[in-house]
């Protein structure tokens, strides 16, 4: 091998080694009973594991919102700043559905469909109509988000709403993670965690894997990825590319709606959440990489954990931590951690 | 057609020196270990079929992207990782195949910007008047390039040939030491082609140039040394008469230059 190639290979090994060591450390932190010096340093293990699980489940929520945003941008280069409004509208609709029907599960498909329809309307009347004028499209989405926010404020007011998880998901579940050994019996005490959050996490992982599979292994995914690379060629080859665009947009919007129902269960629904989740989506995709679903997952987990760990261990500056991560990525790898060069 | 007189050696320093220059785009190797030396004032033609790597070569020299390996030296200075504008300010110039002119501005505006780009006061917040040296230089350049008649016309109103003329004029702004001409004869009528040949052969001796061309007649009549590229590598190098009569070259490119 030439000298340059050799240095690239050794650099690769180095980064892989760093990742592996970090993963092993984190695994040990989670699975082992903490020795006393570690408890003195970091506090109780239960707090740490709770923060970690909260971070990961919050990351799942961020992933659901951000992946729709990054999918739409990755394929169609549309920056849809009304994405946060889609989230909040999905939350309100999910709330109404669960209130009227009493079913939590039903809220998801209805919110998905409602937001998908809204997404189709957006795509056809805004983005397709103004194709090629990126800035104008973005400005219109800003206007739409202002209008939608006020309409929602009108209809539901400024109170906080909460979607309640069904009985079979309420309450904690015992995990396999040990926090310490019981002083009485010597048996390990396992950490309990709300089952609804774990359930959402598992669903988000499935959705993420499903999206990755469709994008990378299916014919539809191949068309979408080809469309990202060369829209004109794809259109010329006779594929109904507009239909694909509408479909992707509808799916991304629907995802935001589902995320709204999740957020309404985890946290609460109120005016301002649209802005908050739009901003989180922005930061997640800036960090993870625009147009990359794995990037959205990585960015979401990073940001979710940063927020949770920050609020537990350094409450005054948890926002700064998120900001520092974003600035560091912009400074050293502007295309995002997993973004394309 | 007589060849332009070969340049005298103006010293050991080369205007442009490429050493082991390579560029890959993923699995595609566009440039493969290119080594090239151009003397000051030399007129070099780089020929080759489509995909031979000629434009990629120019892009590496002007700094549009860095090479995968190798180095670029300009009058002894290593400019391999310099930004494009830094290379321009050292005397490198280039014309473009696809028109990169400011369509909404006049000919004079374009020339003025080119002159301003290589002089001082690019960040000046003071408006200039007509006695400003840069505007005087712009006027001079319009005379040299023979564009007085269309001085106040918008670029979008010019004919294709006039636009190419403007393109060349922009490359002459300031004090160029080496100009890269990227297919300047493309799409020109026979008369425009002979005008082009005149402009190139009448260029001051201290300005060297490298010309990429498909049209063999133009290329061989305006250069005193020819480099032939094929599949990203240099295939042959020599005097125009040698290249023209070389059997291997003829085998590869028979008929391609005589459209």
């Amino acid at each position: 091998m030439s000298g340059d190639q050799q240095s690239v290979v050794s650099q690769r090994w180095f980064t892989h080694a760093v990742w592996a060591i970090t993963a092993l450390c984190v695994l040990w932190l989670i699975l082992a009973i903490w020795p006393d010096w570690l408890v003195g340093l970091l506090g109780r293990k239960k707090v740490f594991v709770n923060a970690l699980l909260n971070g990961i489940t919050l990351g799942a929520l961020y992933f659901l919102v951000a992946s729709g945003f990054t999918l739409i941008f990755g394929l169609m280069r549309n920056v849809n700043l009304a994405h946060g409004s889609l989230y909040l509208a999905g939350a309100y609709i999910g709330f109404e559905v669960s209130r009227v029907t009493g079913s939590w599960v039903l809220a998801f498909p209805i919110a998905f469909i409602a937001m998908a329809i809204l997404g189709i309307i957006l795509q056809v009347f805004v983005f397709r109509h103004l194709d090629g004028q990126d800035l104008q499209q973005t400005l219109i989405t800003i206007g739409i988000s202002i209008v939608l926010a006020d309409l929602m404020l009108w209809r539901w007011g400024g109170e906080f709403y909460q979607i309640y998880a069904p009985d079979w998901l309420s309450g904690p579940v015992e995990t396999f993670i040990q926090s310490s050994l019981s002083r009485r019996t010597g048996e390990p005490i396992f950490i309990k965690y709300p089952s609804v959050r774990l359930f959402i996490l598992i669903c988000a992982i499935f959705i993420g894997l499903g999206m990755w599979y469709v994008l990378n292994k299916s014919k539809l995914g191949m068309l979408i990825r080809a469309g990202v690379d060369d829209r004109e060629m794809l259109a010329a080859s006779g594929v109904r590319i507009q239909l694909i665009f509408v479909g992707v947009f509808a799916f991304g919007a629907g995802l935001a709606g589902i995320a709204g129902v999740v957020g309404g269960t985890f946290q609460s629904i109120a005016p301002g959440e649209d802005t908050r989740f739009l901003l989180s989506s922005l930061v997640v995709v800036i960090v993870g990489g625009m147009g990359s679903i794995p990037g959205a997952a990585l960015g979401a987990v990073l940001i979710g954990c940063a927020e949770q760990f920050g609020s537990v261990y350094a409450p005054t500056y948890s926002v700064v931590l998120t900001f520092v991560i974003m600035v560091a990525v912009l400074a050293f790898r502007p295309q995002g951690l997993l973004g394309r060069d | 057609m007589a060849e332009p007189t070969p340049t005298r050696d103006v010293g050991t320093e080369f205007a442009l020196e490429l050493a082991g220059l390579s560029k890959s785009f993923g699995a595609l190797v566009a440039l493969n270990n290119i080594s090239l030396k151009v003397r000051p004032g030399e007129r070099r033609a780089v020929l080759g079929s489509n995909g031979a790597g000629k434009t990629t070569l120019f892009n590496c020299i002007t700094g549009d992207f860095p090479p995968s390996s190798g180095s670029v030296k300009f009058f002894g200075e290593d400019i391999t990782f310099f930004k494009p504008h830094e290379r321009i300010r050292r005397g490198l110039r280039r014309t473009y195949q696809i028109s990169l002119l400011f369509n909404g501005l006049t000919v004079l505006d374009n020339i003025y910007l080119a002159c301003r780009g290589v002089s001082n006061g690019r960040f000046s917040l003071i408006r200039v008047n007509s006695s400003d040296p840069v505007s005087i230089a712009a006027d001079d350049l319009i005379e040299i390039a023979n564009l007085q008649d269309v001085r106040s016309s918008l670029v979008s109103d010019l004919s294709y040939g006039q636009q190419r003329q403007l393109e060349i004029a922009l490359a002459l702004a300031g004090a160029p030491r080496l100009i890269l001409f990227d297919e300047p004869a493309a799409g020109l009528s026979p008369k425009e082609r002979s005008d082009l040949i005149q402009i190139l052969t009448r260029m001051p001796q201290h300005i060297g140039y490298i010309i990429i061309e498909h049209d063999m007649d133009v290329a061989l009549s305006v250069s005193n040394r020819v480099t032939m590229m094929h599949n990203g590598s240099i295939f042959k190098e020599g005097r125009p008469s040698q290249i023209e009569n070389d059997p291997e070259v003829q085998a590869l490119y028979l008929g391609s230059g005589h459209e």
Partner: protein, 356 residues
């Protein structure tokens, strides 16, 4: 990547030549009329109008003007201008005199002013440095994220920014025996500062830097090939925008005497964009037109909406719909409508004058 917001000149304008640039500014008649009216405003309006309507319109207009320089001249839509203004406001509160005596340094106001402008420039340049390394469309996202980070940070930090409550009782200087916080002096202060910034922005378009900046907007690759450093010009534009935002931020905190995280929250950040786009993102007068309209709507929409039988609180809905309609049909805002439709009404008369 070029933005669709117009970089082409309308056909009826004469070709731009250097002669056009070099001629002394022929101030059009309508500018003189507007200037005289503005100077005489305090004679026929109430103090409320001077202070709350015009004063605010000038301040918001200046912040929007800094966005117009970046977006209209430079092709970079940056949402960090309001944040920069807020940073300047905080600098005045922290280094000047305020009611929060544990934090405020109570330094003389000229020093606080200098620090405030530097703070604004710093915010703009750092944001710009992060934003120019990516494609144009990311600039909105990155600057919005930076702005919101500043908002959250000022809200959570109590040692420097006094957290949620912010600063109040910020003192406006008394100079030459005049308390500049009084309505009429404040009106003239903001009028003159806004007027100077307007003149500067018009002048900037024809300077070598301004021309280069517009060239960078239209064709960055060509500009680099001509020897211009694209990044340096963009950063310098951010710095200039920072100066304007900083001055506006100082006036802002002087006018209300207070500053809090909400000054730089997402609402005001988006408002600046809305103002600039509605007014016209390509012309220096646009931001001021948009700001005046915005302030009028904000002040009187309650009465207006009640008068036509709607809930008075739906002000944001009105603004949002106005914004949508304008962006959809006239990307150049009100100035664009003026240029396209209203100005043309005068053309036939002009021709007759020439022939007569």
């Amino acid at each position: 990547m070029t933005y669709a917001i117009s970089t082409k000149r309308p056909a009826q304008e004469p070709p731009r030549t250097l002669a056009h640039w070099f001629d002394p500014t022929r101030i059009p008649a309508h500018i003189w009329v507007i200037a005289i009216i503005l100077l005489l405003v305090p004679t026929f309006t109430s103090e409320f109008t001077q202070y709350q309507i015009f004063g605010w319109a000038f301040i918001l207009g200046m912040i929007s003007l800094s966005l117009m320089i970046l977006a209209g001249y430079g092709g970079m839509v940056s949402l960090v201008q309001m944040t920069a203004a807020a940073a300047a406001g905080y600098a005045i509160a922290i280094f000047g005199t305020s009611a929060v005596t544990e934090i405020s340094f109570a330094w003389p106001w000229p020093i606080a002013v200098i620090i405030a402008i530097l703070a604004s420039v710093l915010v703009c340049v750092i944001s710009g440095a992060l934003a120019i390394r990516t494609e144009g469309i990311y600039t909105i996202m990155i600057t919005l994220a930076i702005g919101s980070a500043f908002f959250y940070f000022t809200r959570q930090n109590y040692t420097v920014f006094n957290g949620f409550t912010g600063f109040n009782g910020v003192q406006t200087p008394v100079l030459f025996g005049v308390n500049w916080k009084e309505p009429t002096p404040f009106y003239y202060l903001t009028l003159s500062v806004a007027g100077l910034s307007y003149w500067f922005t018009v002048h900037l378009a024809r300077t070598p830097f301004g021309l280069a900046l517009q060239g960078v907007r239209d064709n960055p690759r060509r500009m680099a090939a001509m020897g211009f450093s694209v990044n340096a010009h963009r950063l310098a534009a951010y710095a200039i925008a920072g100066v304007l935002s900083g001055i506006a931020g100082i006036l802002l905190v002087w006018s209300t005497g207070q500053i809090s995280p909400n000054t730089g929250s997402v609402g005001p950040i988006i408002d600046i964009l809305v103002i600039t786009v509605i007014g016209g993102i390509n012309r220096p007068i646009g931001p001021f037109v948009g700001a005046l309209l915005y302030v009028l709507l904000r002040t009187y929409s309650l009465d207006f909406l009640n008068a036509i039988g709607l809930d008075g609180e739906r002000f944001k809905l009105v603004i949002g719909l106005t914004f949508l309609v304008i962006v959809y049909f006239s990307p150049n805002g009100i100035c664009g409508i003026w240029d396209k439709h209203i100005k043309r009404l005068w053309q036939p008369i002009k021709l007759e004058e020439h022939n007569g």
